[in-house]
């Protein structure tokens, strides 16, 4: 008897494809939703059914609670998996799904709301004995009150919007003179992005590492952790390379950190899979950062070292099955890395780079997993997140996972859309990365060595010219038109664009 009659996947791209995969294995039919931009996308083709939910703009499709709930009812699904991003941490969405008589694969609305407010989350964690950074999370948000609290916290400090994420509105203030300006601009940005300008103040930690604990809980006091991940390699507060376990932790630190993660999940009455994020200071102390009330992008590294399928655990938990994990399940075997392939141009300030994928070749081999929503012909649009796919490698040791990642990246080809592939290679080939010497400023600190050369070697230019001549000639003949094949370059295209 499958866990559900039918699951609607309220997402797109690689995560929708990944969730559909587990549902197939469990014998659960899936319903994809798609915007006009995604009519023939891979997540649509790999689902059993698909329902259109509106135009390309996310606000009118993947972010529309009304349309997604209507699609679930129309398709007679009995559960909704939100994936990550979009509505996955929206308490109103979780409530709307439940109110429609369907199962939401994740925690209930009030848990999302409690953790989505940094002030409330900080207070809750401090009360539960989970370490938090020295800071201010009070309700008095007057400028004078905040300045007084800022002096108490000390410089440098971080101003963080209480709502929202993704680095929006975050400011580092190094001395009192810059405080008022930074506060004003943080509030403006927060107000515009999240409709709320309340802030939290926290002591700024130099060269911190980002570590996080994967938890599973059943809402009845039973909560377990599945080990930690380290996600210190970031740019603009977005993770780029993740791994499990963290190279920074010994067995004792790991035990303490993971216990704090479980404590945090219990304190909030957590249900289903979640992630408790911590900042790890150079002195080895750690502090609660935030809790992500959903499946994480980087969950495959935990799957790789535990052998568990987190989407399966989520579905079992949502179906009311008791939590059946033992502490041994959390003991990591070997080491796993994940590289996020983004449609971003490292030679152009990492700006998102839309376009059409004209040619695609993904790696495979021992210890290699690729979670991808891409095809040759896929259009990478400006409407959605630039994450294209995730390349995950496993090894018996960290060194082996790195070796496999180097090779996997070397055999990954995406043409037509600029990507951060060369930068990923430079990161995993960097001696500081091999040494595990990581911090959230890693990319900035090593940027010069991590910015790829824009021009190919002469051998490649020579071969490309010859290959182009070869193909140009072929095309000229096939089209039986232009006597000068060079003039037929325009429409010529290889690789089966759509």
């Amino acid at each position: 008897m499958p866990l559900f009659r039918k699951v609607l996947v309220a997402n797109r791209g690689e995560i929708a494809v990944r969730i559909e995969r587990t549902c197939r294995v469990l014998g659960i039919p899936t319903v994809a939703v798609f915007s006009e931009a995604d009519r023939t996308a891979r997540h649509v083709r790999e689902a059993d059914e698909a329902v259109g939910i509106g135009p390309a703009e996310a606000a009118e499709s993947y972010l529309s609670i009304e349309r997604i709930v209507a699609a679930a009812l129309e398709a007679a699904a009995d559960a909704v998996h939100p994936g990550y991003g979009f509505l996955s941490q929206n308490g109103d969405f979780a409530d709307a799904v439940r109110d429609a008589g369907l199962v939401f694969v994740g925690p209930p609305g009030d848990v999302h709301r409690r953790m989505g407010d940094k002030r409330a989350a900080r207070r809750l964690m401090a009360a539960a004995g989970v370490p938090v950074l020295p800071g201010y999370d009070g309700d008095d948000q007057a400028d004078a009150a905040l300045l007084g609290e800022a002096r108490r916290v000390g410089w440098p400090l971080m101003i963080k919007p209480s709502r929202g994420g993704g680095g929006k509105g975050m400011r580092i203030v190094r001395e009192e003179a810059g405080f008022q300006d930074a506060l004003a601009s943080s509030r403006r940005e927060a107000k515009a992005a999240f409709g709320d300008d309340a802030v939290v103040l926290e002591r700024f930690v130099e060269r911190p590492r980002h570590v996080e604990v994967q938890v599973m809980a059943d809402g009845e006091g039973r909560a377990v952790h599945l080990g930690e991940r380290e996600c210190s390699v970031q740019r603009r507060h977005q993770k780029v390379v993740e791994e499990a376990p963290s190279p920074a932790l010994g067995p004792e630190e790991r035990r303490t950190l993971c216990a704090a993660g479980v404590e945090a999940a219990r304190a909030v009455g957590y249900v289903n899979a979640g992630t408790v994020e911590f900042l790890l200071s150079p002195d080895g102390s750690f502090s609660f950062l935030e809790m992500n009330t959903r499946l994480q992008v980087e969950h495959p590294v935990t799957e790789a070292v535990t052998g568990l399928d987190l989407v399966r655990l989520q579905l079992e938990s949502a179906a009311g099955r008791p939590l059946s994990l033992s502490p041994e399940d959390a003991v990591p075997r070997g080491h796993a890395l994940e590289c996020r392939l983004y449609a971003e141009d490292p030679s152009n300030d990492d700006l998102p780079s839309p376009g059409r994928v004209l040619h695609l070749s993904e790696p495979a081999g021992p210890g290699i997993r690729v979670d991808s929503g891409l095809d040759t012909g896929s259009e990478v649009t400006v409407h959605y997140d630039p994450l294209l796919s995730k390349i995950v490698t496993w090894g018996q040791s960290r060194a082996e996972a790195i070796e496999r990642m180097r090779d996997a990246l070397r055999r990954t080809v995406v043409l037509g859309v600029p990507t951060n592939l060369a930068r990923l290679r430079a990161i995993v080939e960097h001696p500081a990365f091999a040494a595990g010497d990581l911090h959230t400023g890693f990319i900035g600190a090593h940027l010069r060595e991590l910015t790829p050369r824009p021009c190919p070697p002469l051998e490649a230019i020579a071969a490309a010219a010859a290959a182009l001549a070869l193909e140009g000639g072929r095309d000229g003949r096939e089209r039986r038109a232009a006597p000068d094949p060079w003039s037929s370059l325009g429409p010529w295209r290889l690789g089966g664009g759509a």
Binding site: R356, L358, H359, S361, L409, R410, R411, T412, V413, V414, L415, G416, P418, T419, L421, A422, R425, P452, P454, C455, P456, P457, L458, E459, A460, I461, A462, A463, A464, A465, A466, A467, L468, A469, L470, E471, G472, G473, R474, G476, R477, R480, A481, P483, D484, P485, W486, S487, L489, G490, W492, R493, L494, G495, G496
Partner: protein, 157 residues
């Protein structure tokens, strides 16, 4: 052929030799052999050493991946012409190769688009067609001849 990468310009001349291809680029002669594995994928050999080239053109932008790194080049068609402006009355091969067949003789009237020569390069045949209506004035090659761009093979008047 002229390829541009950012501010850098590369004029590339490729010719077929007894042992494969030879490209002149940036004052260097690069020898290699090239085979097409499947659309967009080529095997480039330097002796026993082989490298996979992924290549796809989108308009005048040439996307390629070499040794696991992706690049984009601009194909300058006009540049290729200024380097060598073909005579409208002369038929040339666009690529180095071998004449597989000669379909016309001097004095023969031809129509625009008619097949005059077949040139084979890297196991692929390429038909060369009359650029305009006219009469064949001269044929400078015979089947089996090795040909390179920049030389009149057939002249029409």
């Amino acid at each position: 052929m002229r390829l541009r990468c950012g501010e850098e310009t590369f004029d590339v001349q490729v010719r077929e030799t007894k042992r494969g291809l030879e490209a002149q680029v940036a004052g260097r002669a690069i020898r290699f052999a090239l085979e097409r594995a499947r659309p967009g994928v080529f095997v480039v050999r330097d002796g026993a050493r082989s490298t996979t080239l992924h290549l796809v053109a989108d308009g005048t932008v040439l996307h390629l991946s070499w040794d696991g790194v992706a690049y984009a080049l601009l194909v300058e068609r006009e540049g290729a012409r200024t380097a060598h402006r073909p005579d409208p009355d002369a038929l040339e091969t666009p690529m180095p190769g071998r004449v597989a067949a000669v379909k016309v003789a001097p004095g023969q009237p031809v129509a625009k688009g008619e097949e005059l020569l077949v040139v084979e390069a890297m196991k692929m045949e390429n038909a060369l067609r009359a650029p305009r209506d006219g009469v064949v004035r001269a044929v400078h090659v015979a089947a089996g001849d090795r040909v390179v761009p920049g030389r009149a093979l057939v002249e029409i008047e």
